[in-house]
Symmetry: C2
Subunit: 347 residues, 2 copies
């Protein structure tokens, strides 16, 4: 039997490590889509420094391509697509439209290696004849201009979003091609929604706050944010998860509060702000708030974070020329609300 | 009888207009403290463009001095001090310490021409033998490098913070020296706390939000902030004011929401952020939240705004060298909270 074909979309810290693991294991035929760094990787490969796979100099994935279209044309059809890009449904391109050219109906299993809750909904709607799986990762990794660093254990919790038994064969197949004894592990997760809620304890609190104030986690903590905002925000998330049937231990809060003790570091959303990149506000905050609203759970801090970040995201869209505000349209306006008639390109 | 001596502390848009009005009326001997623009004013005076007092070229106040100390030495003792500086009790210098050199116990009436609630508490404590009055202004004015613009009506609502009848003589004396028929008005306000709560409807909502997102009022409104954050924040303020005995009409919300229709403008707190200046977070948000806590009123949006801005203010203190964070102090820290043992100068 031919080796399964795997496409990895998103060559950040996670996707590149995934490609390395699959190549090292040698049980799959892996293609990595490398957009911004393509020329760099072609010329000199990656510098890799990892705690679990060791170090590599001038490492290149077996196949790497500059676009999904090239991947589909030259290396498809794919058994698996691992989606490791950011998930910005309110941005110029949705994940569904990004992967579309490489999805073969009935064949390709799509694994969403991304944060947030209810992220499978638009993907399943776009590809009703494909299996869509949940992948939750805990690795700490970064890819800065082709210099890759990864620490901790590379454990992937893979699961069916609705615990569908027909999806287990695909999960086992993935575990087989990814798992390297002593180096990483793939855990089949029968309650992946809970794992997603648990990761959100961190992601709804530190990510938005540090992005809003543009400060690292530790400075926020030094100035009292654990008590004033972080724990109260985390408690709101715990209440939302509970209303959704998932009881998360209060000890998770302390686990995440101390996860970066001593390091003065910024979570991804704060880095996004600093780099003028779009933030994952819908999957991290918007979707949990929809659950809160449906279940009648009050979450005023998370809602305030969300509404603030939505404004910042709109400003970023204007700065990037995706929307345009023509002051003349509003010169004589005295209606109750400004009309939302602004040009929105690409949507 | 000699003309009353008036000292104006703070030569921004408000203080300079106050000096102009007093000089035009000619019934007081006025001194303006001009710190940053002193050389400029000495050399060529102000360019003044106002709707109520007309235009002036190379205008200088009768007395202007570079510091309070010089004012006290050369032009005191003062019958009145009008305090038109920003009020930053958490900043390096409090208003009490700023005015102290020019206050004569038993003589000087201090008029706080500033926003916020409970601002008289530290001033009355510092000067128990002086009258401290409330001055609320509604003028729209600015002073940019000696170019002064003012629009609207120059109405000062002057009042006793605790409706003390012994303070009315001072108010009437002030009205007499300030009021110019057809040009301005001084209204003696028997419920100045209500006027302060009313102004806070605007100041607790648009000021913090625009400072946090660094966007003008109109862009926030175009992107839905009236519904998502502004009205909900204003409603919290209305509830706090009500718990304090002051019922404010809901129509005030719409009045302030439409106050800048068509203009793409930033309120003072947003301008402070852009200029890396301290913000009036304690008198605008902190003090109302103390009232909320005392009276058991829930105000989660205002509290979130406040806690976010407190973090930003701490970052600004670090940027200005007022506090210093030594990462080595936190390298091995794994206690529940980071200790707040950072150096704080000038406090």
């Amino acid at each position: 039997m031919a080796r399964p074909k795997v496409l990895i979309v998103g060559a950040g810290g996670i996707g590149t490590i995934n490609a390395l693991a699959l190549d090292l294991n040698g049980k799959a035929d892996t293609t990595l889509v490398v957009r911004s760094d393509y020329e760099l990787v072609k010329e000199k490969g990656y510098e890799i420094n990892t705690s679990m796979y060791g170090n590599f100099h001038n490492w290149r994935p077996k196949h790497f391509v500059p676009s999904i279209e090239v991947a589909a044309k030259e290396h498809g059809p794919f058994d698996f697509i691992m989606v490791t890009t950011k998930n910005i449904p309110d941005g110029p391109t949705t994940c569904e439209s990004i992967v579309a050219p490489a999805v073969t109906p009935g064949l390709t299993t799509i694994i969403l290696m991304q944060n947030g809750i209810d992220i499978e909904i638009p993907m399943k709607k776009a590809f009703p004849d494909n299996i869509v799986l949940s992948g939750v990762i805990y690795i700490g990794s970064s890819n800065t201009n082709g210099i890759l660093k990864a620490q901790g254990a590379d454990t992937i919790r893979i699961g069916s979003f609705d615990d569908n038994p027909q999806e287990f064969a695909a999960m086992e197949k993935f575990a087989e091609i990814y798992q390297i004894e002593g180096k990483n592990s793939v855990v089949i997760d029968h309650d992946c929604r809970k794992a997603r809620w648990e990761k959100l304890v961190y992601n709804v609190s530190f990510n938005p706050l540090t992005a809003i104030v543009n400060m690292d986690v530790n400075r926020c903590q030094i100035h009292g944010a654990n008590d004033s905002l972080i724990r109260p925000a985390m408690r709101e998330l715990l209440a939302i998860a509970k209303s959704d049937g998932h009881e998360i231990s209060e000890s998770k809060m302390d686990f995440f509060i101390h996860i970066g003790d001593g390091f003065f570091y910024c979570p991804s959303m704060c880095i996004d702000t600093r780099k003028n990149q779009f933030m994952e506000i819908e999957v991290i905050l918007g979707n949990p708030l929809k659950v809160a609203e449906k279940n009648g759970v009050d979450a005023p801090i998370l809602r305030t974070f969300y509404n603030i970040l939505k404004l910042k995201q709109m400003q970023l869209k204007e700065d990037k020329g995706i929307i345009k505000i023509d002051k003349a349209d509003y010169q004589d306006n005295n209606s109750d609300e400004y009309p939302a008639i602004f040009l929105e390109k690409n949507k």
